[in-house]
């Protein structure tokens, strides 16, 4: 048949985008809660937000943006059939992912060290808004972190495909979709960052 289901380049990309929409709406639910509770407790949110380490936040923003750059470049590289460079760039992306996770780890452990974690006595004692803020913070960054891990693994797998020659200049949809997924992870963070670390 004309479009054989298996090598439909645009179809595959369409499918990926549709999936990204669902990811967007998944986090959308959390942003919905954030906006509502922000409206409920502007002051408490401001106070709680200041307790987050904005320097680490900024660092992670830069890291993710850079990783996104690498991912995008990887696509260009594969289109130009520069296989070794593709490997290098994907490697870079994955390194950034790792760095991001490490920083997150320190952030979280610091907070937990201060007795700030969902359902902690400290939060139960504190003002209502604070508990809500941090619960949201942990849920959102937690789920986002999970996506970083998934994205990283996905790219690693694709790198293997590139190496084995399954992904090439004339059949790179896999890599392109992988990159798309990675950019989404970045997109989400672009909103998490100001909302949780900076605003107020």
């Amino acid at each position: 048949m004309t479009h054989s289901p298996h090598k439909d380049y645009f179809g595959a990309k369409l499918g990926m985008w549709l999936f990204l929409f669902t990811e967007l709406l998944l986090f959308g639910g959390l942003f919905l809660l954030f906006s509502v509770y922000l409206a409920h407790f502007p002051r408490e949110f401001a106070a709680a937000g200041r307790q987050l380490n904005w320097i680490l936040g900024t660092a992670n923003t830069i890291i993710l943006l850079t990783s996104s750059l690498f991912a995008a470049m990887a696509v260009t590289a594969v289109q130009r059939n520069q296989v070794r460079r593709v490997m290098g760039l994907i490697g870079g992306t994955i390194l950034c992912a790792a760095a991001f996770i490490v920083i997150k780890y320190f952030e979280w452990s610091a907070k937990i060290g201060h007795g700030i974690y969902p359902g902690s006595e400290h939060l139960k004692a504190g003002p209502p808004g604070e508990s809500v803020f941090f619960s949201l913070y942990f849920m959102t960054t937690g789920i986002h972190g999970l996506h970083v891990l998934i994205g990283g693994t996905l790219l690693a797998w694709i790198a293997a495909k590139v190496k084995s020659g399954a992904v090439t200049a004339d059949n790179y949809i896999l890599l392109e979709n992988g990159a798309l997924y990675w950019h989404l992870v970045d997109l989400i963070w672009i909103f998490i960052f100001p909302l949780y670390y900076l605003i107020l």
Partner: protein, 549 residues
């Protein structure tokens, strides 16, 4: 079990045998949309029967006031499991999963869906989710007792096994998302030459609208369920007033998904009806464009009315104003559909074979359900009947009188195509009559009970409600008898009934232009579509691309 039956199906040929592969693995690892469709049919169907039995047991408990056969906790578990099974395991995956997979690719002249392996994966997700839900019944604190709505804070407090059940639903939601994106991509990319958007069968249109709802609404359910689990496991307290949470926010999130979900249930059903009615009146569907468009309109407007489930919750009056208004707006496209279906009959040549009977019954029952929906949609009247058996009556009319009967219609209409044999007409009619009568007795009395003020999810009730409950219970037995006769006749027919040709009903959509049962690749050579889906005159003149019949 069901699969075993299939392997000794008398009819050979078509996708049953042409791959040469047989045995269970040829099914559960097959990427052929037809086999996956049958997998969905049999799995959703099995769970449906589970739900039915639970429903009947519930009715027995409600037969008389006080304790009849079980205690309150057992009853609460029953309606929860009944609701969860019926909604998440049967009716949501049912029509798209089974008949969407079986016929949609053929109807658009494609070999398969866009992502066949993903399609199989979706089914596996569905089954795993189902298994998890079932395990939740027998492990931990026992079956969940929260109602299918999992309202917090109760669902965070109860000691029953809510977390596991919710996890199962979460996985099933994921499966629905993947099916949705698969169908959208398929409909955009794999239409055969000449299959313009204006020539898509209305069933395909309805699946397209459904798929969008699945994609845009289900993620919200996913995150909501994650939050329930977090609430129970970590105690995040996001909906706990003591810690600044707002219980109503949970309800918002839940209904943002679950109202659109009811249109996931009904849209494919409407598609089935729009495909059947023209065939059995030998007349093109009336107002094709309007019906196709109204499907999209329902999907769009349907995502903006979730608040009508919260009129008594203490939500702001302005929100009630807006949501009540939009609820009435969403009724209009449904009205348009009904009017067009009825007009299709005008000056046709109507034959009342089983599929048509069920289709016409759908119109009636769905109208009753929908119109009671309007009573629920009006702020003033909702207050009185909210959370009473009136609501229970409403949604059984739309879900079971609607989607359910459409499912029956689809089973009688399409399954013979895939089995090469058909059911016997007379028993089908008898079964239909019994179900029609039993259905109305069962659920009409619930509506009256609701108007008299009997709250739902009540294990015990005051004597003044006794008579109607008894009547309702008796009705449910008639209904069940009808169901049994129907199913026996249907499946007996499929396996041992009389053989049929490629186009028993004289349909003009593509699935009738290929051999019965269809071969694995559906079309010998890529069909070229030359006429609309309900253009029966073209049919007489030799029909569309693909084989002659």
């Amino acid at each position: 079990m069901d699969l075993a039956e299939q392997s000794h199906t008398p009819v050979k040929g078509g996708f049953w045998s042409d791959t040469g592969k047989t045995g269970i693995t040829a099914w559960i690892f097959s990427t052929d949309h037809k086999r996956i469709g049958l997998l969905y049919l049999y799995s959703t169907f099995t769970f449906f029967l589970v739900g039915v039995v639970l429903g009947l047991i519930m009715r027995i408990e409600l037969m008389a006031p006080g304790r009849t056969i079980m205690g309150p906790d057992a009853y609460n578990a029953l309606f929860t499991v009944h609701g969860v099974v019926m909604i998440f395991l049967f009716i949501l995956p049912g029509l798209p999963g089974a008949f969407g997979n079986l016929v949609m690719p053929i109807q658009i002249g494609a070999q398969d869906v866009a992502f066949p392996r993903l399609n199989l994966f979706s089914w596996w997700l569905y089954i795993s989710g189902a298994v998890i839900i079932l395990t939740s019944l027998f492990t931990g604190g026992g079956p969940p007792d929260t109602g299918w709505t999992f309202y917090l804070p109760f669902s965070a407090r109860t000691a029953t096994n809510v977390t596991l059940a919710v996890l199962g639903v979460f996985i099933i939601g994921f499966s629905a998302i993947l099916t949705g994106l698969n169908f959208i991509t398929t409909i955009h990319r794999l239409r055969a030459e000449g299959m313009t958007w204006g020539r898509l069968p209305l069933f395909v249109w309805s699946l397209y609208a459904t798929a969008w709802v699945q994609i845009l609404a289900t993620p919200i359910l996913a995150i909501t369920l994650v939050l329930i689990m977090a609430e129970r496991v970590l105690g995040v307290g996001l909906f706990d007033p003591a810690r600044g949470g707002d219980p109503l926010m949970y309800q918002h999130l839940f209904w943002i998904y679950s109202h659109p979900a009811v249109y996931i249930m009904i849209l494919p059903a409407m598609g089935v009806i729009s495909d059947i009615i023209p065939v059995f009146s030998r007349k093109p569907i009336f107002g094709y464009k309007m019906i196709a468009f109204s499907s999209l309109a329902i999907a769009a407007a349907g995502s903006l009315v979730w608040g009508h489930h919260m009129f008594t919750s203490g939500m702001s009056d302005r929100a009630i104003l807006v949501f009540s208004f939009l609820t009435f707006i969403v009724a209009i496209p449904s009205a348009i559909k009904v009017f067009n279906w009825v007009s299709t009959l005008y000056k046709g040549s109507i034959s009342l074979e089983a599929p048509m009977l069920f289709a016409l019954t759908f119109i009636l029952l769905f109208s009753i359900g929908g119109l009671t929906g309007l009573i629920l949609g009006a702020a003033a009247t909702n207050i009185h009947v909210h959370d009473t058996h009136f609501v229970v009556g409403h949604f059984h009319y739309v879900m079971f009188g609607g989607s359910g009967f459409a499912f029956f219609a689809a089973m009688h209409y399409w399954l013979p195509k895939f089995y090469g044999r058909r059911y016997a007409e007379k028993p089908a009619i008898v079964a239909w009559a019994l179900m029609f009568i039993g259905f109305n007795i069962t659920f009409l009395s619930m509506k009256v009970l609701g108007m008299k003020g009997m709250p739902r999810r009540y294990y015990d009730y005051l004597p003044e409600f006794a008579t109607l409950n008894l009547i309702s219970t008796i009705g449910s037995w008639i209904l069940a008898v009808g169901l049994v006769i129907m199913l026996v006749n249907l499946f007996r027919g499929l396996f041992y009934g009389e053989r049929i040709g490629s186009n028993p009903w004289g349909g003009a959509t593509l699935e009738w232009s290929i051999p019965t049962p269809p071969p694995t690749e559906n079309f010998a050579e890529e069909p070229v579509v030359t006429h609309g889906p309900y253009d029966f005159r073209a049919l007489k003149g030799g029909g569309s691309g693909g084989e002659k019949f």
